[in-house]
Symmetry: C2
Subunit: 345 residues, 2 copies
């Protein structure tokens, strides 16, 4: 039942030419006569030939595979990025192996090892929130396998990074809240060892500074952004203590949506009591009541950008200057969760 696999030797035998010629013919090598190529392709199609990637990889020491390690797949942002990467990379003849770290350094290390053993030609990484040690990427560097970090990056390794301007985004979000009359703006974000959160925080602080508002430690919370964490943060630290801020800037839309729900559950009005701004422009930010003001995060564009850089590098002559810092632009998307002043006042 199991059909025998067709090899270039089978094709060669049937065509009375050498396997070499078949191999070159299939690769459209210029040295092969066009008529011969046609005969090869025709027979290959007829016999249902498929190239054996392992033999090819083994010989060429290249896999045409790119590994991706991300914290999680389940956000609109992440799947947009992946979508962008996949499209570009596929067109260039590469495959993707995708894995999730589930925000854990240990899983990220395991994934990296797997990618390494699978001999990916390049690695694309968005770091897990608690990754502090980067030694799992050393093997790639040693073998000159390019790594690109995006979104959650690090300066600890000087690879290429692709990010948005998180500082600006944090600034815009905060300034918007200030413009809307907020003076006590709570900022809830992730592990500030991560660039994205650190930079947003810097933007937040700068906006406060520029508007003569003092930064207050008690208006800054760093947690894992889970529903439970948001609940604890808002209920225990804010609501029960009657330290009601008048603005809330949360570092992602899911967490912002949790926050919104929790605050409403506590009887607060959004945006009248507390104006809320999220981050990412995930679907979820548009279906809450009120919909959430957020930062647009151009995932697709980011993905395509990443792919292009890698492909140019891999298909080019591998020039080693693969450590540029690419910063994409972002915008603020204003929705009802933060509008407290008429624009035509």
């Amino acid at each position: 039942m199991q059909e025998k696999e067709v090899t270039i030797y089978d094709l060669a035998e049937r065509l009375n030419i050498s396997a070499t010629t078949v191999s070159r013919g299939l690769q459209d090598h210029p040295a092969i006569n066009i008529k011969t190529k046609k005969r090869i392709f025709d027979l290959a199609a007829e016999m249902g030939y498929r190239s054996n990637k392992f033999a090819s990889n083994l010989r060429r020491q290249k896999t045409n595979t790119i590994g991706v390690i991300v914290p999680r797949l389940n956000s609109l942002f992440m799947s947009s990025v992946l979508s962008g990467i996949e499209r570009s990379v596929n067109n260039a003849g590469y495959n993707l192996i995708i894995s999730q770290s589930f925000e854990k350094e240990s899983k990220e290390k395991t994934n990296a090892k797997t990618m390494f053993n699978n001999r990916v030609d390049a690695l694309i990484v968005s770091l897990s929130s608690d990754t502090a040690d980067f030694s799992h990427f050393d093997p790639f560097l040693k073998k000159n396998i390019p790594i690109i970090f995006f979104d959650r990056t690090t300066e600890a390794m000087n690879s290429t990074t692709v990010v948005i301007d998180n500082f600006k985004a944090g600034y815009l979000a905060t300034e918007h809240l200030i413009t809307q009359g907020c003076r006590e703006i709570l900022h809830i974000t992730g592990n500030i060892d991560r660039n994205v959160y650190a930079d947003r925080l810097k933007g937040y602080k700068k906006a406060l500074l520029d508007h003569q508002i003092d930064f207050r430690e008690d208006l800054f919370i760093s947690n894992d952004l889970s529903e439970g964490a948001m609940h604890d943060a808002l209920i225990a630290h804010v609501i029960k203590r009657k330290q009601l801020p008048d603005g809330l800037f949360v570092t992602n839309d899911s967490a912002a949506a949790f926050a919104l729900t929790i605050l409403k559950g506590a009887g607060l009005r959004i945006p009248e009591d507390i104006a809320v701004v999220g981050f990412n422009n995930d679907l979820i930010s548009r279906v809450t009541e009120p919909p959430i003001t957020t930062i647009n995060y151009p995932g697709n564009e980011m993905g395509e950008r990443i792919a292009r850089i890698l492909i140019d590098h891999l298909d080019g002559d591998g020039n080693p200057d693969l450590n540029s810092q690419i910063v994409l632009n972002t915008d603020l998307i204003i929705r009802a969760s933060s509008i407290r002043k008429k624009t035509y006042e």
Copy 2:
């Protein structure tokens, strides 16, 4: 700079034994003396040896890779399933290649071809919504490569399928609305050539029947569940025509959330005017106002189940009875979007 790759021949030479013994030693072959094994492992670690999967795959004609094709990654349900699959499959020493069809048959076909050429040991598929032709799976069948369909399945190929009881789920959702006093229940779902939507529709119809409510064609809409489609469906067909239903059962939570937002935007009260039930128990169903009653879809469990079946098959003696139909249980999760009667009435 580029470090030379260490092979079993390097190890063999250093240990003064044959490559054969090294190979067997690394595989923990019983014929190899335990002391020899230790020497091999120690040296391997010291020299930074890594197995070359291509050479191994080439020789063994097996890749230890499992392919996954899904419509999209960006739903809590899908990423739960993948998470479940990945965990189990990783433990058993397999890798995953994941790709998205973006709900398009053409992309699904391309993905399938890629998987085939990458010689995955098995394929896991949730069909794109418009896949009507299944010939892209034929090559797998011919080569006895197992395929498991989950969620979006087909009976056109007799492979193993893993699904939830969509009929029951549809029934429960509908009956719940009826219990809440709804009599004109609009059902919006996807392409009913797909089992999931067809079965939910059957459940919907049966529930109506059991409660002496006639099925009305005008209370059934099949579309692509996008925001635009929901908008068109609700605005054009329902609201403008003043055919106000009193219940709405939407086949996934994102679409239900869109619907909720659109209806509220049109001035309708949920659940007083229209009670709403979604499907999947995605995060989004919990943050709308009101939160949406939905069907719990145990993604993780489904993923682990799929992985177990495959691994048992692959690691076992490949007994060919790989065409069972597995149906997982589901529940209704009641939230405010559908509660119109006090439970203690």
